[in-house]
Point group: C2
Chain length 980, copies 2
């Protein structure tokens, strides 16, 4: 199963055309779809089998306006003319346009290639081209083996006198002027002209080989050459179109030394409107059309050629001249339309070409998007799902280690390691607070390392990163306050809860309850995710405000002036010199010290000298609150800004990626630096100095009963039931998100196996008194994101295509081993100020909240209809219905928040489960069509046939021809939940 | 000269088409151009004279697929069918597309109109339409007076049997189904169907009149109706095109009750590909093309119609199907191409139409962009320019007051008043610092009010707002330190400087030196502006850091603990109880107080009780530094954020505009609120409590000699010379910017008069010891921006067009009167914390810096070539040359900064003048073509004929057909220097 290094780039290039074909149902969101792996091999189009074509337009310049050309070029004329002494004609050929997928134009003035753009031509030039070709020379499968032979073939026409023919041949064999933009040096017009070259020298030049475009074209690419120009000595137009039998490297004719397959010559007497230039562009645009290419490669005669041209013309889109400026450039669309459909159309019209594999798309339609994926099909046997999962994953197990052998994995490890310890530190601090030290940073590190590593080794989806999560943290806090209120021994009680949770989860695994995740629609996911994010934000801000109480601000009227050092002076006994007369104990302001022996030494110094500090100012530390607030805001804003750097125009993409990926680490470093620079006594992270539990007086193993009565071990089943629901939802929602079709995972999911692992780890961590762990959405997505495989060799204007994810177990494993080792990082970690961590916490919450569609809809509430973005959603659902849906989600969220804040908080897992019910109830309010756009459809009852009429009208079969609008959903399976 | 209320909207609508024609040379930047006023009346196109056309496509639906229609609509069928009992055919007409300038599509599912987009059609449908029209019925100047008559005319064709004709007529007279989006209520399908209507009821319905689109169409707009559909009972296609002799309101046929001019009927038997729908769209797109409209209104027969269609076809832009998704929507371009050129082309081909006023564009070309505007032509007489200015402005003087009678002026006054006092406060504070109180906030208010009001009453360009400016502030600071170093009496010395400056300026006015402003290119402006901005930023940050020294941060190891209140206690005499033994005077830390009688009262309380505070902690105020920093950052970031709200999608545009315009005021309010909430003793703005000069012991009149020797009054000429250069440059650069062509000022500039006024005010303020004033760029631009006149009635997708600026003297006058009154605002102003003002200062600097093109080029230095925006500049100048130019500007700026910071600082005005010389020297390094794009060309020596070959190739005549690319420069004369 190992892959050769170059293999995936190759895959990518051949998948050029059908990005949108493969992605067409990502528009629907996250519903589990059957054919995850089949996406990769959906290169089902005829055009795919043909090599990619690089087309360039060379223009004949300088006849009869040679002088004009000289002016715009900065080269000496004699050099420009090249082989001047052999040919009496002052002419040069220059490359001004090129096409791979999109058009690039040479900006002669600026000396650089323009940004790639959608090629546009005028209809007039296309029609002129058609008539020129209809009357001209068309050679299909020309056997020419070199440029010389080709030129001889092309000029063998009646209209040319022998003398003219010779002249023309000499012209065509001249070395063209290429503009090669090299990466390092200042771009220059190829030094080709500085060497004297004989015109039959056909070996490609060094400059051609060094052309950076070469690397961006896949192996096997062919070239098409268009030569256009106006020649004074021609009396009538000369058009020729050649398809070479075997592609031939036409020497220096092509900018990149690719073998040429097509050759098009468009010459004629000078005209006023530069129409040969435009015809040349039209020919190149035609050649760059995949459909036309396909037909052209299979054309047998002129008639086929013209028919292909007419088909092209029939399908072109027309922009009216009064509403569109023809010289403006349209940036490449995010997605190209599916060429499959065009081909199908053509074959339906029975032009006689075989339609290659046209059934796949139909398959998709019949299959529907809501058939459960094989991982989620119920087997009906006890532990059947688990067994299947183990069996499926076992076959991939060796490859899970081999596949990690790629440098990308190294940077993924670094990135995720930093994210993991940030998480461990922040959650450790919060848990320590919440449980009064029962779990602290050390437990957090240890637990993360043990549980994470074990999960990576055994789980069904080893890309998952286990972590403490918001909901579990909230539940643990509730559990702790409950046991404190009833004076229970917390850790033993917690152990029993853990044992019961593991048991319940085992039952869920046995009964294959994980297949129910299909009922988790986006509505549920978003409610859950928004709640977590809000908890993050609330906690961060709350912690920050707590600091302001711990270090009170000193207002002008407030106390806290004055601290002096009292000590027995030489001049009297103690009873004499202190006659403190506190008039009012509460108001330290007016403490009258009477006659004392004192100095103004600062408190520590005072104590050392034998005195003792006295006064309200002794215990206050000024400036800390505001400085903490500054650190908090700085780290939050800096992390946010760095995240935006990733999508900005500045810096090379490598730098941007590093800055964006390590935003939180860099923000922490900045905060620590600022803190160290000013040296204020801000509260720092508390880390144990030795390897023992944070709570003094407990060992690593939790005793099963402690001070609790025996029946508590049974009663623990009740909270355990709630926790089980929570764990199940938290774990499985993350699993559903991670296993979305658009991530193109090849090795499949393992919902049952994952839950089993989580249950076992739950048991282990409960016994050891470590925090509980489930899959963490955000950090797992970041993990996957850092392991994206993308095609590198991409044509100008094409965005790199997503190939899949490096699915393996090694990166996670290494991350957790490093986390384990980091327990000994205490001497470094203790320099991290807490406000910085709170800032990062806030950033995580805000970033996660921003990533869900729900927030986009909330924003819509604030936008006037006119300014709303052109979302597909808004095209199909009335705005009021969209707002209603958003409002319902908002009130659900409000309800959850209220429950979380009341004494009934402990039942909030039940309420989360209630979201599924509310979603079901929404079907009474919204029509299936609306729900398709707002959320997604819930699967019908298992194995029930879809009833007639009930089946919602699926938006793909919308009568309005809007199929292809779907491609305006984000094309790439972008992992857009942001990363901590 | 007063305008009627509706007049400008009318102008706007008729100027629809030629925005780009008028704006075409704004691409070149800010060079003074000759025909400022002529821009307004460049409505020189034939198409302009025709009314705007609103086109809608009604579709015949429901035959034979009536059931299908019912499904997608949520209305009961019986209502849908309307006049069901009269007609046996279940058919309804529904409006699905409409066009004014751009296409809007009805999103049936969402029940709203799509965002306007560039209409696209397939070539095939255009061609089908052409053949249908060629065979169909074409009625030009049809005399029908009602829908009934029209329908009778249209159905009078041979192919229809009388029975069929009756059926068709009944159909066509049916009430169509409109979708009217009302602004307030939930959009609904017009309640038209709820009333039973007879089919010849032709009065437009209430819903039609209430259609909000009505308000967006200019008076005189006409309608074009396209009816397309597939009818089962038709055996062959039926195409009809009607131009009505007199536009007729066709009852409820049109969504908006406009008189219809064109009517197009495209019916036929059902086809597979919905081709009548597409043909209908094609017909509507055709009709919406201004060129086609123009021809159509003048067509005499079918041949003319088809010829116009062919002309259209020849000019269309074609998008290849393989690289473009035909269903995607292109947002309206910022600028439409000039229809003038198209018309010219057509008339050149001598189609027989008169070319209306085609000479204007040629005029422009001949005139060139660099001919001096009339205000800047040298008369050759002493004070000739001044006299001309006075004469020109005198004729507008009454209108300068009448033109202010518009509610917009009220909000402009409020906005500029707030900006002016912000400026007066900040500059007052800075000047007070710089001159040690010789000028303070009171002087700043008084001077601003007096000078500003006088300038508004007398100046040539009354939109200018006078203010203290950065360069003058810098110079005054230098002058003060000079006079302090040589123990001069500052104010008398300054008086003489002022007298000399006024004299020199008078000489400049007399010699018409202001015509030299033509040599101030963007290079000079940008150098000047960047310097000012950097001074703002530097000062703001510097002031903030000074605070940190005034209120030291209390580090753990630092002193500042302890302050106690010593007072004579009852138990001993003073010499006995204080035995203070300072071991080390510098180190307050270890002050030993010995035996004392003390309390811990805070310092003020202590003093009141007769003791005195003692100790290092008595004079420190903790928390102030960081809180100030927080205030500083908060006000800066809040102002920046509010500025961005203006261009965001959120909130209605009124709210956005208010938030954006008052960003600095709101930021100040927020800062004050925060400060008041916490009640810390932050440094506040110092305002005098009574109306007398800030410096104690001076009257309002400065004595001419004071303590200075008599010869100093002569020596003052030397610094005055430098200051004159500075004043001249600062004043005139601002004047050049304010009088740019793109602002379409009608009343002309007054460079000489302005300078004269500044000189006289210089004298006045010197005598009174008030600050010196010149025009302030940023605030004046804000003033103009708040007085923009824009067309309100704009078609969907069209951005409001800029009509000009309300040029008057009243707003400025009122602003300065209010500023004068604000001297008595002291009780309010004293609550403003200084850090907030520093934050606003920083914001002003950053915003001004961001607004110049120079900064965009500096940003290019950081961008990889691939990610650079597609600037016109970069298309025509090699990147390395762009970077070289930027680097030269950067080093000039660095040099200026260094000079400003050294003892030679006082000569920095000379160096600013040197910028003009450096710019001249750049002509040795850069070619004229490059300078056209990077900067602008300097005018040739006056009256010298342009020499052959030296004249740079002007980019408009670029051979590459890129004329219209110019429109991709920002079209609107956006005033994009941000506002304080």
């Amino acid at each position: 199963k190992m892959k050769l290094p170059g293999q995936e780039e190759f895959e990518a290039s051949s998948a050029h055309e059908n990005v949108s074909a493969g992605e067409v149902d990502s528009g629907l969101g996250s519903g589990p779809s059957p054919d995850g792996p089949s996406v990769t091999d959906s290169r089902d189009l005829g055009v795919q089998e043909d090599p990619l074509l690089f087309i360039q337009l060379n223009e004949m310049l300088g006849w009869p306006q040679a002088l004009e050309w000289r002016e715009t070029s900065s080269f000496p004329v004699s050099l420009l003319l090249g082989v001047g002494e052999m040919s009496p004609i002052t002419l040069s050929t220059a490359l001004h346009h090129r096409w791979v997928l999109f058009e690039e134009k040479l900006e002669v003035g600026a000396g650089r290639w323009s940004a790639p753009h959608v090629p546009t031509v005028t209809l007039a030039s296309l029609q002129k081209l058609r008539s020129l070709l209809a009357e001209g020379l068309v050679l299909l499968d020309c056997p020419a083996q070199s440029l010389l032979e080709l030129v001889e073939h092309v000029t063998r026409v009646e209209m040319l006198s022998p003398e003219l023919r010779g002249q023309l041949q000499a012209l065509l064999l001249q070395r063209p002027q290429h503009y090669i933009q090299t990466r390092d040096t200042r771009p220059c017009w190829g030094s080709i002209h500085l060497r004297k070259a004989s015109y039959n020298e056909e070996a490609p030049l060094k400059e051609q080989h060094q052309n950076p475009l070469r690397q961006r074209l896949p192996p096997g690419a062919e070239a098409g050459n268009v030569l256009a120009g106006e020649l004074g000595f021609l009396a009538q137009p000369l058009g020729a179109f050649v398809r070479l039998r075997d592609p031939v490297v036409l020497g220096p004719l092509t900018e990149v030394p690719l073998p040429s397959r097509f050759f098009c010559l468009l010459l004629g007497p000078p005209t006023l409107a530069k129409c040969y230039h435009e015809m040349g562009r039209a020919a190149a645009v035609l050649l760059s059309d995949p459909q036309f290419q396909w037909s052209l490669r299979r054309a047998n005669n002129l008639h086929d050629l013209l028919a292909a041209l007419d088909t092209f013309l029939e399908e072109v889109t027309v922009l009216p001249p009064g509403r569109w400026d023809p010289t403006s450039r349209i940036p490449p669309p995010k997605c190209l339309p599916s060429q499959h459909k065009r081909l199908l159309n053509q074959t339906c019209e029975s032009k006689g070409f075989a339609a290659p594999r046209q059934t796949l798309a139909e398959d998709r339609h019949l299959h529907g998007p809501h058939a459960p994926s094989p991982e989620l099909q119920r087997t009906g046997r006890l532990f059947g799902g688990l067994v299947q999962d183990v069996r499926r994953k076992a076959s991939w197990y060796p490859s899970d280690f081999f596949d990690a052998l790629h440098p990308q994995c190294f940077s993924a490890v670094l990135y995720i390691y930093l994210a993991t310890i940030t998480n461990a530190i922040t959650f450790g601090g919060l848990l320590g607070d919440a449980t009064n030290g029962a779990q602290g940073v050390l437990e957090s590190f240890l637990g993360t390392a043990v549980a994470g590593a074990a999960f990576c080794l055994m789980a069904g989806q080893p890309l998952t990163i286990l972590s403490s999560t918001g909901p579990v943290l909230v539940f643990e806090r509730l559990l702790f306050s409950f046991s404190r209120d009833y004076s229970l021994d917390y850790l033993p009680f917690r152990l029993w809860v853990g044992i019961w949770v593991a048991t319940f989860c085992l039952v869920l695994v046995a009964t294959e309850a994980s297949v129910l995740v299909r009922y988790f629609t986006r509505f549920t996911e978003e409610g859950f995710c928004a709640l977590i994010s809000l908890i993050f934000i609330y906690d961060a801000v709350g912690k920050m405000l707590n600091l302001a109480q711990a270090y009170p601000i000193q207002r002008p009227g407030s106390p806290a002036y004055g601290c002096l050092c009292q000590y027995p002076g030489p001049g009297g006994n103690e009873s004499q010199w202190t006659r403190t007369r506190p008039k009012d104990r509460d108001d330290m302001l007016i403490t009258d010290l009477g006659l004392i022996n004192a100095s103004l030494l600062p408190p520590p110094e005072c104590t050392r000298q034998g005195g003792h500090p006295h006064g309200p100012g002794c215990h206050t530390v000024p400036d800390i609150t505001f400085f903490s607030l500054l650190l908090f805001l700085t780290s939050f804003l800096f992390a946010m800004a760095l995240k935006h750097v990733k999508t900005s125009r500045f810096f090379p993409s490598v730098v941007r990626k590093v800055l964006g990926d390590f935003s939180s680490v860099l923000a922490i470093l900045l905060g620590c630096g600022l803190d160290a620079f000013l040296g204020l006594a801000t509260p720092k992270l508390m880390v144990p100095r030795e390897f023992k539990p944070t709570l003094p007086g407990r060992g690593w193993l939790v005793s099963p009963f402690g001070a609790n009565p025996w029946w508590l071990s049974v009663a623990a089943a009740l909270p355990a039931l709630l926790l089980s629901i929570l764990i199940f939802m938290d774990q499985q929602i993350t699993a559903v998100i991670l296993n979305r079709v658009e991530y193109r995972l090849r090795k499949g999911a393992g919902f049952h196996l994952d839950l089993f692992c989580v249950a076992m780890l739950m048991l282990l961590t409960s016994v050891l008194g470590l925090p509980w762990y489930v899959s963490a959405t955000v950090i797992s997505l970041a993990h996957m994101d850092s392991l994206r495989r993308e095609s590198r060799a991409c044509a100008p204007g094409e965005s790199p295509s997503f190939l899949g994810i490096r699915e393996q177990r090694l990166t996670g494993l290494v991350v957790f081993i490093l986390t384990g080792v980091s327990i000994f990082l205490a001497p470094v970690l203790k320099f991290i100020p807490m406000p910085v961590l709170y800032g990062i916490f806030l950033y995580m919450g805000v970033a996660a909240l921003n990533s869900i569609q729900f927030m986009k809809r909330v924003q819509l509430l604030l936008m006037p209809a006119k300014h709303q973005p052109d979302l597909l959603l808004l095209r199909h659902v009335p705005l009021s219905r969209v707002h209603l849906f958003t409002a319902i989600q908002l009130s659900c969220l409000g309800l959850l928040w209220i429950i979380k804040s009341t004494p009934a908080a402990i039942i909030f897992p039940l309420m989360l489960l209630g979201l599924v019910g509310i979603r079901k109830a929404l079907e009474w309010i919204f029509s299936p069509q609306e729900l398709v756009w707002l959320d997604e459809l819930m699967p019908e009852k298992e194995r029930s046939k879809p009833e007639k009429g009930v089946e919602p009208k699926y938006p793909f079969s919308d009568s309005d021809g809007e199929n292809s609008e779907l491609i305006y959903q984000p094309k790439a399976p972008e992992i857009n939940i942001s990363v901590n």
